[in-house]
Structures are given as C-alpha cells and as structure tokens.
C-alpha cells in the first residue's frame, strides 16, 4: 500500500476517521491543535460532526453524551486540558461508555510549556479522576504505531465498553513520518450497541445510563463489576515490544518517544559489545508486568528512562519485584534526552555497579 508523509496529529485524526469516528469535540491546545483543525475539515466530508467547544470540561461531557448513543466518538487535548477532563472521565468510566481520548503530553505541572513530556503517566494510568476506575492506555512510539493504535483504541473501547486513552507526547504529535493508513471502515459493520445505547425507547423499555447508585451496597456491586472487567483487561490486553532481549544482560525500559530513542542507544551499546536489550511497554495500563518480570530475572540491572521525574519506573519496580536493581534516568520540563546522554547515563551506571 502507498505510504503518505503525515504529521503525527493528522495521522491520528485520519486513522480515527477511518476507524469510524464520526463525532469529535475539542478545545484547542498546543501541541495537538492540528487534530482539531484536521477534523474540522475532514469530518464534514464523511457526514460526521466536528464541534469546537467552549472548554475541556464541556468537551468531555459532550463526549459522554455522544458515547451514550453508542457511536464512535473521540476528543484530543494536551496535559492541562486533560486535567480539566478528569471528572468527566470518571463519569464515563463509571457509566461504562466506549470512547477514545488522545492526550499529546507536554511539560508540566501547571501551564508548563509546549514541549514533549511524559509527566502525565500517573494521571493517565492511576486514575486522574475520583473513584476506582481504569482507562486502557496506549502509548505509540512511531507514527505508524500511532495510526495502528488509534484503530485498536476504538476496538478496545467497544469491546470493553471502557474509555481508551492514546498517550502520545508532543514529539509524536508534531513530527512527520511516512505512514500506511488502514482502509475506511464501513460504519454499518461496527459493533452493535443497541442493547444499551440511548437512541429513544422506540418499541422497547427505556435505557438508562448513569454512574451512580445512592445505595452503598448497589454501588459496591457496580464497583465489583468494574473490577472484574479491569481484571479481564489486565489479563488479556498487556502489550509490549522487545528489542534485542534474547541475550540481553542489561535491560532498558522506556515508552513512546523514549522507546524509539532507546533503540538507537541499544544499537550503540551493542557496537561496544555490551549486551543490552529494550523493553517498551505499549499498553501503559494494563502494564505488561508479566513479561517484564520474566526478562528481569536474567539481567544485571534495569534502567528506566522517561521524560519525567520517574513515574513509570514505579510500575517497572513492581514488575521487576526485586529480581534486579532498577535505576532511573529522566529529563523534565519538556526536554527530550539525546541518545548520547542516555548512553553516558548507562555507562556511568555500569562503572558504579561494577
């Protein structure tokens, strides 16, 4: 198939349209506003709806409403905007509605800056809103993967009736790469949600959707149902990529943009005859605990690299569970570490550990 040169944000938008997304609500924020701009032009061409909202709070609630109808709906934002959406996301998770969020992460906290960062990991994977809920979180490291994971995001959302988050960073959003786009999905072939969706009670009992139960026992039952679902997702949906791990005696762990940088670090170190491998989580929740634990048994140490003060490293430690020492290297403020500085960090560690 023909490859197209596309910007990350636009590739995600086009992939969403091809996945059958016909409703998109958003409030502009750098570095992902190209998604909104692209959708404003593209959705009318396919009979869809684009709406620029008055705020991220309105956005997430429009997503809630549209998701109630069972149609494929998406929004996109960047870190401060994602913070504003948290209450609504908690409601959507509680109401068990399928929809897709894209957070193109930038430096924080606060207004931060507009450069790529990974400091929203906690918020994305541990629940930024209130209550016991989970999002499925997918982290692409190339634009092709961003396109493919966008397709997967809609499918997983439908399959589990759960919101799915594509956690990219400013680098993925802003860079250009050749991508191969999937074919346009036929809307009529999408999963049927008529058993629960709000469509007007035509010839049936009314459907009612709500994330609340005033009776604590009832609410506990709802929560048990959520937890059973999360356990199932956790078992079935762990995804990751390995690179040169077969004979690895040292392991590097990183996701998203860092994942691709670490590949060249691994190659550099391999040239110096250092047997290093890469483990790149693709699902950040569910975190690929099982495979990482296995790998950690046969390595001298694990080095986690992130564009944050060290957030995913907590999950890495849980996975490794004492089987190897876990070290961390990170940059903050929207700085993308260079392969060289990561290599130095690794080599320094090697000296210290020896």
């Amino acid at each position: 198939m023909r490859k197209l040169m596309m910007k990350g944000n636009e590739a995600i938008a086009e992939s969403a349209v091809r996945a059958g997304c016909r409703l998109y609500f958003a409030y502009p924020i750098t570095p992902q506003s190209e998604i909104a701009e692209y959708m404003s032009k593209r959705l009318p061409e396919v009979g869809g709806t684009f709406l620029q909202t008055e705020s991220e709070i309105a956005t997430v609630n429009m997503v809630y409403g549209a998701a109630c109808t069972g149609k494929r709906v998406m929004t996109s934002t960047s870190s401060p905007g994602f913070s504003l959406m948290q209450e609504g996301i908690s409601y959507i998770a509680g109401a068990e509605l399928p929809c897709v969020f894209v957070n193109v992460v930038r430096g924080g906290p606060g207004l931060g800056d507009i450069q790529p960062a990974q400091s929203d990991y906690f918020q994305a994977t541990k629940g930024g809103g209130h209550g016991d809920y989970r999002l499925i979180v997918l982290a692409p490291s190339t634009l092709q993967e961003a396109v493919d994971l966008t397709q997967l995001a809609f499918d997983l959302a439908d399959k589990y009736r759960n919101p799915v988050l594509i956690l990219a960073d400013g680098m993925i959003g802003q860079m250009m790469e050749p991508v191969e786009l999937p074919p346009m999905k036929d809307i009529s072939s999408l999963p049927d949600h008529s058993s629960w969706a709000l469509t007007g009670a035509n010839g049936r009992e009314p459907h009612r959707i709500a994330a609340f139960n005033i009776d604590p026992h009832g609410l506990e039952e709802m929560n048990k149902r959520y937890q059973e679902k999360y356990a199932r997702i956790s078992l079935e949906e762990q995804r990751w990529e390995e690179y040169k791990t077969e004979d690895a005696e040292f392991l590097m762990v990183g996701y998203g943009t860092i994942g691709r940088i670490l590949k060249s670090v691994v190659d550099d170190l391999r040239e110096k005859n250092l047997p290093v491998g890469l483990f790149r989580p693709i699902t950040l929740w569910p975190f690929p605990y099982k495979r990482l634990e296995e790998l950690s048994k046969k390595v001298n140490f694990v080095l986690t690299v992130e564009m944050s003060s060290g957030q995913m490293v907590e999950d890495v430690r849980l996975a490794v569970n004492g089987k190897a020492p876990v070290y961390f290297y990170g940059r903050m403020g929207g700085i993308v570490p260079t392969p060289n500085e990561i290599r130095f960090a690794f080599e320094n560690l090697l000296k210290e550990v020896k």
């Binding site: 409703l23 609500f25 709806t49 709406l51 909202t53 008055e54 705020s55 709070i57 309105a58 956005t59 609630n61 429009m62 997503v63 809630y64 409403g65 549209a66 998701a67 109630c68 109808t69 149609k71 709906v73 209450e87 609504g88 409601y91 109401a95 709000l198 469509t199 007007g200 009670a201 035509n202 010839g203 009314p206 459907h207 009612r208 959707i209 709500a210 994330a211 609340f212």
Partner: protein
C-alpha cells in the same frame, strides 16, 4: 371512561421529592407534553445533579445523568450524535446557573436544538439549603444566615434575561406552577420549548419559579405564597423570546 390518568411518559417509580415541592408538578407537565406531541419513543432526557438526580428514572424515556452543571454539554453530545431525536435537560438553579452557567450560555448561543426545563427555587435543595445564584437579596439560607448581602454575596442572577440576548435562543419563558392558571401557562410554555426543538428553530428554555418548602422552612402553602409575593417580583413572569410562532 378514563378522564385522568398517569401520563405514558411518566414511569411507575415513586417521586423522591418533599411534600409541596414543585418538581412533581413540573415532571407531570413535561410527561403530558411528551405524550401529546407523540415523541416519547424518540425523546432522550438528561437529568442533573441535585434533588432531581433521579429524574431519569421518573420518565419513561431513555435517559442519563450528567455531572454537576454539565447537562447541556451532555445533551449537546447526544443531539449531535442523533439530530432527529428530541433531547431535553432538567436542571436546578445551582446546576444551571452556578457551576454550569458556561455550558448553559454556550449551548444557548450555539442555538443547540435542545429543550431545557430550568427549576429556579432560589436555594440549593439537595445539599441542604445553601445560597444559590438566584437567592433573593435578604433571603436567609444556611450560607447566608444574615440574609443575602450584595456586598459579600453578589446579586440575584437573572438567567432568562441574560439568555434572552443570545441569537441562538428560539423560545424562552419564565413561568411558575403555583396556581392552576399558572400551571396551564407553564404547560403551554414547555410545549413551545419542545416545538422550538422539533421544528429546528433553536434552543428552548422554560424557567419555572418553584418552591422548596423544606429548605425555605415553610409549609407548602406558605411556600406558594412566598413565591408569588417575593420571587415573582425579582423574577417577573413572561415570554422573553418566541421565534416559534403559533
């Protein structure tokens, strides 16, 4: 011959409202209008947070509950997904005029083909009688124990007057249900606000001045009287916008 029965669009579920509260009357009027317009099977309701949080169970239509203040954003999402359905929100003053005023103004300004029933009882009901944006000057609430004082608490908030300036609004009327005649008027207004949506003219809202005997600390009869004597002075009844015609 049955001359009076439960509207089809009201469910069997018992109301959870206090004695003398107007929510029950307004629910019935909405259900009657839905029945008369023959739209029960294509209507979707969005309930608010507050005393009427269960409203989505009281109507025999598809429904959901929005986060506090966000009913008009949720309704916008539903309506944009299903433009040929009839979508309405039911919201109190805390929900619509305080935390959700942004969503309210922007949905109205976009001229969303939605209908909103806005219950203004000048107080926060469910949380136990605190000041609302619509609380009258001098009115005592649990957070204005000395009476609402504009120096500290600002002035009563006039939702209908503000929304009436927006071109997206197709029908806007302030009513009350405190006398039989007022009830008949209120029903006409609700009907028109639905027709504004069905005909695709724009956004329709009916503000209903209502009682909260519980938090006003009055008997139902005193509450009716207080409403007519005080609330209608601050919030005059009447049609603000009518682009629907007859």
């Amino acid at each position: 011959m049955v001359i009076f029965s439960r509207p089809k669009s009201l469910s069997e579920k018992e109301f959870t409202y206090c004695p003398g509260c107007h929510h029950g009357i307004v629910h019935r009027l909405i259900a009657e209008v839905i029945d008369e317009l023959g739209i029960q099977e294509k209507t979707i309701m969005v309930a608010p947070v507050g005393c009427s949080v269960f409203a989505y169970e009281f109507f025999n239509v598809d429904g959901t509950v929005a986060p506090h203040g966000r009913a008009l954003a949720v309704a916008t999402g539903i309506k944009r997904a299903l433009p040929d359905r009839v979508v309405f929100t039911y919201q109190g003053d805390g929900d619509l005029a305080a935390i959700g005023i942004g969503e309210t103004i922007h949905a109205a300004n976009r001229g969303e083909k939605l209908t909103t029933i806005f219950i203004n009882n000048a107080v926060y009901g469910m949380t136990g009688g605190q000041m609302a944006p619509t609380t009258l000057l001098g009115q005592k609430t649990t957070t204005t124990p000395y009476g609402r004082n504009p120096e500290n608490d600002g002035y009563p908030f006039h939702v209908s007057e503000i929304l009436s300036t927006l071109p997206g609004v197709a029908y806007l009327e302030r009513v009350t249900v405190s006398t039989p005649q007022n009830i008949r008027n209120a029903k006409k207004a609700i009907r028109k606000a639905f027709i504004a949506q069905i005909k695709g003219v724009g956004f329709g809202l009916v503000e209903v001045l209502s009682t909260c005997p519980t938090n006003w600390g009055m008997s139902p009869v005193e509450a009716q009287k207080w409403l007519l004597e005080n609330m209608t002075k601050e919030y005059p009844l009447g049609v603000f916008v009518d682009k629907v015609g007859d």
